[in-house]
């Protein structure tokens, strides 16, 4: 969940691991904020619930966890070993350096703006503004700040810098630079997962994801609105 998997993957993970441990009763509920599991064998059962610490997207960690599940299921790995391997994966899975992510996000948002019809001056402003916005997001995330507050702050900074930069550079599509710079915040993976979860038979989880996507977009709108006010673009 914390690396961007959908509900079906969590279910398959749980079922594979449980079967490899000789469990003959399995009940699994995957929720947005918590996951609970009931295991039973020889007439005895146990139920545990864990909190989902946060939602993100991390493909390499996601793939590594699935590989671990496959290996553990095939070899009947002891639960304590699975736990220690999982901790090691979370700790050691490589990530791109922050500066590289900021540049990549800047390029992606500039390309997005180009797709909307932004001119080259606006694309350059979008690149710089969204790269700076991504850096702010990383800093605020490290400090454990509420995710929606981060979204509003990053949207405000990125939109303001994008709009200001495009205006100072003489762009004819200032509004597209302003909006394009906030596209790093568009929750594309959660939005897709929401629909996949509903299709796969997890409507509660899918609905919760959809609501969180909607809330993110509301906070993006707040940031953009404030940036427009600061730039004097409100009528």
């Amino acid at each position: 969940m914390q690396s961007g998997s959908n509900g079906r993957v969590i279910h398959e993970c749980g079922a594979l691991l449980a079967r490899s441990q000789g469990v003959d009763l399995l009940g699994l509920r995957v929720g947005y904020a918590s996951t609970s599991i009931t295991l039973g064998r020889d007439g005895n059962s146990i139920t545990r619930m864990v909190t989902v610490a946060g939602h993100g997207v991390n493909h390499r960690l996601d793939q590594a966890v699935r590989a671990l599940v496959r290996e553990a299921a095939a070899s009947g790995m002891a639960p304590v070993d699975i736990g220690s391997r999982l901790d090691a994966l979370v700790r050691d899975t490589p990530r791109y350096p922050g500066w590289l992510v900021a540049i990549a996000v800047g390029v992606a948002c500039a390309a997005f703006a180009g797709l909307f019809g932004a001119d080259q001056r606006a694309m350059l402003a979008t690149l710089l503004a969204s790269g700076i916005g991504q850096s702010l997001r990383q800093i605020m995330h490290r400090h454990g700040i509420n995710v929606f507050v981060i979204v509003a702050a990053v949207a405000l900074l990125s939109a303001f810098l994008g709009g200001l930069g495009a205006r100072l550079d003489g762009s004819g599509t200032v509004d597209l630079a302003l909006f394009g710079a906030t596209l790093l915040l568009v929750p594309g993976v959660p939005a897709t997962n929401a629909q996949v979860d509903v299709v796969d038979g997890f409507p509660t989880l899918g609905s919760a994801r959809a609501v969180s996507v909607l809330m993110v977009m509301v906070f993006v709108a707040v940031g953009i609105w404030l940036a427009q006010m600061l730039l004097g673009m409100q009528t």
Partner: protein
Amino acid sequence: MTALLAHVLHQAALGALAAAGFGVLFNAAPRALVFCAVGGALALALRTALQDNGWSLEAASFVAAVAVTLLAAGVLRRWLGSGATAVAVAGCIPMVPGAFFARALLGLFALTAPNATGLDQTLAVTIVAMLRVVFTLGGIGAGIAISLTVLRRREF
């Protein structure tokens, strides 16, 4: 014909950049980034070609999402395993209708501004933009979900 091809290639190149950039943000493996870029290019090329032939944005986005997902989950699985699904999603990200979302937001701000004028026209433009965002996002999501279901994907 040349102008159409140039337009498709332009959109495909920008789609590739956007998909690869978001692939880095999603911490996709370096090898998968190449496939993300190819997926984004294919999605935008197909969508643009269909739109240039009179298709609506929503229908073209749906077909492009289906095509990219079938290609990724069906062909790339042997090289990327279950990561092929992630490539399909990253490839479809550049099709998110940000321009219409921006237009809808601008419209909402204009509707609620003090001393707003031309409310009827602004309201119509805003509602149309919002509906296009909803339908296009729905088309992309449905294209991915239906394709994955049709392929009866195995996540492990």
